[in-house]
Amino acid sequence: MSSVTTVVLAGVGGQGTILAGDVLAKVAMAEGYDVRLSEVHGMAQRGGSVITFVRFGEEVQSPVVDPGTADHLIAFEMIEAARRLPLLKREGRLVVNQRIVLPLPVLVGAAQVPDGLEAALAEEGAIFVDAEALACEAGSSKSANVVLLGAASAGLPLSQETWAEVIASRVPPATVEANLKAFELGRAACLKGACR
């Protein structure tokens, strides 16, 4: 069982977590692994918190991730990073997009973002990435999800070539180049950063 790698992608409906999860699962499958991916559609997609699980290895049983069992948490936003932290193993790897998307209760003044959120995540060993900025640098503001995959890839046992092939096959043809660049920028940012 320990040969299974468990990845959690957490974000806000509309941020592209589903596509990112699909790319990761396809990369793992192309590398010959058994894969299970699980996501929740419907109500949650309307700007609610969303979560996708991807698990791969020789043989994977459950598609669901329990607390303390994820090897990687890729968070598309800091509040969701904090919310899903309990899923991550103590020794797990935490990649966080360094931005906050304010939920409606905060927008209307009924709730607040806790102080020191970023510091708390840093304490948990977060590897921060400014995915939107790198996406713009790559030439497509919509490729922030691929930047995050790039950052996460630095810690995943999957080959660069397969990533590139799958990304090229999954994004709109006109944006292939920008997305491949986005992946590289994310990966590079992570490699020169605080990667463990």
């Binding site: 109500m43 700007g47 939107e132």
Partner: protein, 584 residues
Amino acid sequence: MARALLSGNEAVARGAWEAGVAVGVGYPGTPSTETLENLARYDGVRCEWAPNEKVAAEVAAGVSLAGGRVLVTMKHVGLNVAADPLFTLAYTGVGGGYVLFVADDPGMHSSQNEQDSRRYAFAAKVPMLEPADPAEALFMTRLAFDLSETYDLPVLVRSTTRVSHSKGVVELDGGRVAPQCRPYVKDPAKWVMVPANARRRRVDLERRLARLREHSESAGLNRIEMRGTELGVVADGAAYRAVCEALPEASVLKIGMVHPFPDDLVRQFAASVERVVVVEELGPFVRDLVSLAGVQVQEIPLPQWGEVTPATVKAALGLPVEEGRVSPEGLPERPPLMCPGCPHRGVFWALKKTKAIVTGDIGCYTLGAAPPLAAMDSCVCMGASVGMAYGAALVENERPVVGVIGDSTFAHSGITGLVHMAYNGGAGTVVVLDNRTTAMTGHQGNPVSGVTLSGSHGRELDLEALARACGAEWVRTVDAMDLHGTLAALREAVASPALAVLIAKSPCALLSKCTKDPVAVDDDVCTACGACIQLGCPAISRTESGKAQIDVSICVGCGQCEQVCRFGAIVPAGPACDLGGSAR
């Protein structure tokens, strides 16, 4: 042999296609929806959205009667709607293979309840297969068509969210069986369920089920996987995968066909292990069947609701589970919300102003119940808004009552409620939210939009003419994006002694892809009154000083906030790209 990464829903579609289905028909509902959408992509299958699940099950009955294979799809609550034909179709049996795919939602990720469709299989006396993952979903769906024809029964294939919406590697080795239409045979003793015929078919049903039970005992759908002899676990559907992960040493009796239940196999299994436990979702059901088979079951504290995961299984058996890290305290919730530019928003803004009791319904517009709009008082099941509005008005004399219902929901089961209102002399108000689509479940066409599953544009249901034909005297259509116009019409409808139907029409913001330039707040003019904040638009928030600010990366320039600002503080912000906001 090709390998593909398929979701459970994609796999069911593939299995039906391989089995040579002639027709697929259903009504959308999470987590079942993509099944029919995927089947529609295959050549040689006619796929249609029905207005509701009952109609879908009946269209399918016609296909089967005339000898074609047919797949029907729906979510768990849809089976309540389709239950009437289903119970009697067990008696008639089938012509062409009849498979009804139903997807349950333990944990209620996107549902109003957590009902357990396994109970329908027993209540309706219909066989049920329960795939544990996408690969099984393909295989079992294909097999279900053969079982249906061999045993002359409709067959239920039941999944759950973690089967429907999980993806797994599936081997695609099977081609398509050539679709064959069995020749039509006139057989009133089988198909005309008047009591004399039904009594004979009722007896025959037991005979058919008894034959199928033999299959259930021996065919491998239910199978024993022997590992250790200390612990034996009986598990069905998705629970099977959780058990395999949590208890790799335990022997497992995997239930893939829960009805007819394999009593002999259960006894055989129990005889080969020291103790037997049952792991399942949604409370004891298989547990009771195992007990009824005469096997002593060791009780374990499984939750009665929600999903079973490897950790729940371990905890129930007293094994240690991992402890995760701890989240920082005081994190804000992130409920789903109406999209920027959503035409439902203005209608709820207006409803709030009428101070009416608002009986609501199911769809994206249910979000109108959430603060700050908080302008919906009930949501029970599809269609309920209309009957409840009428019922509430029978005893509530102080406040007006308004029923609010989406276009797809109205066509699904709101029309009969309106007929009741008209027939019994009601004078209430029904608002139909016509956003030209079934938005909540991912933008399916519906009878009101006239867009069919094959993408063609058929007849559009004329809501005004329909409302009048039902008996409504006050009928009007307003532009839902015109907030003050909507409010004025709503006030008139509520005040009118007539039975009123107001159609608030404007396409879903995700369909119309509103690309107008965003707006901004003129800080000098804003009085911090908070009127725009009350719209609950995700683009609008308050600054430290209490004044409004608009996030140009979220704003779609729909103009709703401009309409509610009495001070003219909301002004054009210029094109989004100049402002660096492009994350629409």
